[in-house]
Symmetry: C2
Subunit: 715 residues, 2 copies
């Protein structure tokens, strides 16, 4: 743009009425939540948010800083989308629909919001953008939209500057901001305590990139001194880098901090396009944090026409015996390194501890068949595990070549003859380009042998080198795998992948993710007892987690002398409760068959518990303290109850006023025994049977690190 044009534009600007001080407010259907938008004097988009008239988000700026990059559209390299905006118009609408998830906590979900779309014009660069707000009774989402236009076709995001200005020094339940992992223990501090705590909050991981002493991840749960619960996250992160939050701990203002690529740039955009939704949940009742479906509602409807092949999966597998035991993924200990296609495994000496061998897998198949589990996960079945990790090795697996002691055809035939499926395992070692080269053949192999679900893994630093687990390109990779899997009717459960943002609504074959410290950490350093009563508030906001619960032999030392001090930081009953408080359509019975044999009466709950529900009622909830939930099973109409607490224990009374009128239920109660304690007496439990009716009251004493589980089968 030359000077005369600029002067002309300025002249026009002076003639136009300035609307920089106007403001619009949009309120939620019930009026509890209100969001106010305005432009500052210099045209900076600004919003604020209230709940029942109480301030939740102080005036906060919105905008994006663009990179001065030669790839950006000509002339735009130097103008960011930060200020100089005037408002063109503001469109309002109301939306109210009820949709049916393919699987979930409830059979229907209501998506009811009031919307305000503010259309902004930036004269200096002749560009138009839209900021869209959707306000729900329990929170809001906002996003940036970039229509296709003459002067805005391509741009590169150097940083997004979306602010969330807090009203005080709230209590935060946070994990360190990191471009590559979420496997940190949740920290509970005031906002002002994040910087100090960061030093100890960061422990080692196979791949980690901490970026700021006050950087935290989403979903970020907070609680104010006057009892407001606030949660900041994002929804529908597609073709965009993952958002972290960086805290200005002088002013208690969070600002978005995107994950960069290898060059330090953050997002490569082509109009028409939009950012993910930036979401703020708010309520004075913690249960709303768990019951609200805002993240799912802000995602696109299901894009898979025929979903009949997608189903809940209860599974066991060859896994805990390696993670917590002494068996190995690798077939031999003799190879210093492997070259796939050159290394001849028939000529090496087996180490005798390879878990994924024919006999062991048959044992699990028999166990699954006997206990009506759907599938058997087998890790370490394919060539390459001798040097799979830590070498930045590109061609690390081919995903199709079994070890000599894993007969893929015979084992699948055997499983199918018993009504069980094997679950595929694809460890990519974070070499995404190698995985994509072999993805087609790998999925074809699954189809050939009758696998319908895959657990994928992304351990270690990403290849292409310099990329991060949560950068735009790698986020696109995860979704590419999910969409390609859908074409093959394959369900995906991706570990070490990006934390979910509700994409499972659009792609319900994404049945699980890890993206947090799972049960595996109980065999490393251990998880805090409150871990599983904070995850539903944070990690689970975006989608289900393959937490792999069900470790009834909580004292690993009883069967593995090498880990004699290692124990699960819950009681035995607490493990049962996890199937209730951490919803997932994919649930593992992770312990060894021989351990389940020891506790077969308690294992009955795992056999019984459904993974797909007609209805869910959160009866009690407090972040990192306790969660109590009742769920009604699809088809049978049976009800299940579960409660889990932190290290302090919890007293709980449940009035069964949600049961069907006049119906009688055969009730089995799995409770911590008196004096049960996750540290000192974890496996003390009591199982009682009784009949219950609507209106009955059940009382529970949850032990430290304990909980309870109840099945109520309609007679």
């Amino acid at each position: 743009m030359n000077y005369s044009k600029i002067l002309f534009a300025l002249a026009i600007a002076l003639m136009l009425p300035t609307c920089g001080l106007e403001a619009q407010t949009v309120t939620s259907p019930n009026g509890n939540v209100a969001v106010r938008f305005s432009l500052s004097q210099d045209g900076v988009p600004t919003y604020e948010m209230t709940y029942k008239k109480r301030e939740v988000i102080r005036p906060s700026h919105l905008g994006l800083e663009l990179a001065k990059d030669k790839h950006a559209s000509k002339g735009l390299e130097e103008t960011s989308l930060m200020d100089g905006f005037t408002e063109e118009d503001c469109k309002r609408s109301t939306f109210d629909e009820t949709w049916k998830p393919v699987w979930g906590e409830t059979s229907t979900i209501r998506n009811h919001y009031n919307e305000m779309a503010v259309n902004l014009y930036q004269k200096a660069a002749n560009r138009h953008i839209t900021i869209r707000f959707r306000v729900y009774d329990y929170g809001m989402g906002l996003r940036y939209e970039f229509p296709q236009q003459a002067d805005l076709n391509y741009f590169i995001i150097k940083e997004e500057h979306t602010q969330f200005a807090m009203t005080g020094d709230h209590t935060a339940y946070w994990i360190p901001g990191d471009y590559d992992t979420q496997e940190y223990e949740t920290q509970i501090t005031p906002l002002s305590g994040i910087r100090q705590r960061m030093k100890t909050a960061v422990d080692g991981n196979a791949s980690q990139t901490v970026f700021s002493p006050t950087g935290v991840q989403t979903s970020l749960q907070m609680k104010t001194h006057d009892g407001l619960y606030i949660n900041i996250h994002e929804a529908a992160c597609v073709n965009y880098p993952t958002m972290h939050l960086n805290l200005d701990d002088k002013n208690m203002v969070f600002e978005s901090w995107l994950t960069p690529d290898a060059t330090g740039m953050k997002g490569y955009m082509q109009t028409p396009c939009q950012s993910p939704w930036r979401t703020v949940l708010v309520s004075d009742d913690a249960r709303d944090m768990l019951a609200c479906k805002l993240t799912l509602n802000l995602n696109e409807p299901c894009k898979i026409e025929d979903t009949s092949w997608i189903h809940p999966v209860k599974y066991c597998g060859v896994w805990w015996e390696m993670i917590a035991g002494n068996n190995t993924w690798n077939y031999t200990d003799d190879l210093p390194s492997v070259k796939l296609g050159e290394t001849d495994y028939t000529k090496v000496k087996p180490n005798g501890r390879h878990g994924a061998n024919n006999a062991e897998v048959r044992k699990y198949i028999d166990f699954a068949a006997k206990n009506h589990l759907d599938e058997v996960l087998v890790e370490g079945w394919d060539e390459g595990w001798e040097d799979w990790y830590g070498h930045s090795k590109d061609y690390v697996f081919d995903f199709v070549t079994p070890y000599p002691d894993f007969d893929i055809k015979a084992l699948n035939d055997y499983a199918h003859s018993k009504g069980v499926k094997l679950m595929m395992h694809h460890e990519t070692s974070a070499s995404t380009q190698n995985y994509e080269r072999h993805l087609g053949a790998a999925y074809d192999l699954m189809n050939k042998y009758g696998y319908d679900a895959v657990k994928s893994g992304y351990v270690g630093d990403i290849i292409p080198r310099g990329e991060h687990h949560y950068s735009q390109t790698i986020n696109n990779h995860y979704l590419y795998c999910v969409t390609e899997a859908a074409k093959h009717h394959i369900m995906v459960n991706a570990h070490e992948a990006v934390r979910p943002t509700g994409l499972c609504r659009t792609w319900p074959n994404l049945v699980g993710n890890e993206s947090a410290r799972g049960t595996e950490y109980e065999s490393f350093s251990g998880n805090e007892p409150y871990h599983t009563v904070i995850l539903p508030f944070t990690r689970l906001q975006g989608g289900p987690m393959d937490y792999t619960p069900g470790i009834l032999e909580t004292q690993i030392g009883t069967w593995n002398p090498n880990k004699k001090d290692m124990y699960v930081h819950t009681t035995l009953v607490g493990q049962l409760a996890l199937y209730m408080v951490m919803y997932s359509p994919l649930a593992m019975a992770a312990d060894l068959p021989e351990n389940y044999a020891k506790y077969d009466d308690a294992f009955q709950f795992i056999r019984d518990v459904p993974l797909d529900w007609d209805d869910t009622k959160y009866l009690e909830a407090e972040p990192a303290k306790y969660i109590t939930v009742a769920r009604k099973a699809k088809k049978t109409g049976d009800w299940y109850l579960g409660g889990k607490c932190d290290a302090d224990g919890h007293q709980c009374s449940v009035k069964l006023d949600f049961l069907d009128k006049h119906a009688v239920y055969d009730c089995t109660i799995y409770a911590d025994a008196k004096n049960a304690d996750y540290k000192t007496n974890p496996k003390a439990y009591v199982i009682t049977h009784r009949k219950v009716r609507r209106g009955d009251v059940l009382k529970f004493t949850e032990a430290p690190g304990g909980g309870f589980a109840v099945s109520m089968k309609r007679l």
Copy 2:
């Protein structure tokens, strides 16, 4: 390694006899070339090289600097492979075999060398490496070999420090060192003049990364003041970054400078492995630089069992009319940007200048059939060209979806009915990850419609972003495409890809590359008249170039008023000569059919000239001055002659003592007319017919920027 071990190792070291001052020499079969290896006092591998007792390479160091990277094998992060070596042993051998290339300048190639493999031990890190020398009568190759061993399984190369110490301020024929392009005009300066000339030598390119004011590319041709011709290049660059040369212009020492990845690291190695060959050609006769097959000989034998589907290809195509004309690759001018699968081309307004339309392609098919050309290249046939370049766009093409005016089935059927094939075009826009996602489907489509050759392109900055055109990962990508293509019986001609290093011996379906300024530059800024008589000394050392010669209407302005000042920097006859002096099994007749109609008598040479030879004799050669070559056609036994010169013109006399005894040849001579000149009178030519026999002498006067071409068909 702990301290006690280090002390122990040192103790051993003191006990061992130091052989650091010993030296070994290996000479070529005829004794002309000698290479001497030694270890310096501190155990630095050192070599020097002589030719007929004259020093060619002064004592030069060998070694690799390793990265201090967490991915390197434990304990080795800090020890480079630079010094502290002792010699274990030294194995010598002689090799002499004659092999048959699938296509080439001669029907057989002799691979005759003396070899010396020096096994070195580095006590400090307990590591063994081998430096292997192969010495030929016209040069040598050396490489590093890394056997698999306990303490050397994975390592990361920070830089390779292979020195080439020159004996003086030689004349160098060089182009600027660059991680992303070779499309520079060759500079001719003393070594001491590189730094100063660099400032003007670097002109703009779609993707370029110059790294040093004295950095140059290989193959680097030099000439000493006393008439020695020296050429430094590399052979068999596989799973390794491309080598550049950086000049210490105080001491006239070149040192290897590898192409980095996005993180700045250069090579990720897993033993057993080796570096590419570092080659030095030397002779006092410039013709040896062209005749020697050292680069091919240092590559692995053909890995394709059935090569019957690989054949020379003479082709025309829908290309020059876009490059030099006003037709477009894109279908419409209405789209500011494209989203494949969303953009509906049936609803947009065609720009009326789209080259790859059914009528135009049929015209070229008819032309090819009439003139017995094998194939027709069609660029711009597939959706995406409206925004294909300059936006760092990932999903830029799908390689399978034609524009509405390109009927892929009908056009292929029509071509096949006339005995002609279409040549596929895959412009990747350097988005290699997108290309790999679609490669399988793209090759399948080619098989479906009967394409057997693809011209691929890599214009612009590489995606994954931060990578370079010549980094290890991207070099692997090019080879991946070639090997996957071989499975589909597809020949590959990759443009903007890495400069070849003789891999076409191993993968003869790699029938062409660009990797230098091609004829297209004649429609931009123009090529120097000497360009095509230096390329055979440099770029062509690694393999054939798809130079797209045959522009008989050298004055573009005669048919395109928009380029009225643009002209090809050769005479018309000079264009014919290119088919002789720049060997390629893939040769385009690049001009427009209507231009060939104007010069049909001259076009006869292009119709006639074979692309595969039984024998080749370089009769005269001087870098950037002139090349005169005679070639004997496979099957027919016909002989062809060609000469090309620079802007100074050239007088040339050829004694036909290579013709078959007693045979008579029908000889057609295409010569520059008197007063012909590439600038002022380019299209003045004379065609004469005569009979010739062995011993006859032909005299030629090559005009400035001119040459000559002769066909001698055995009667």
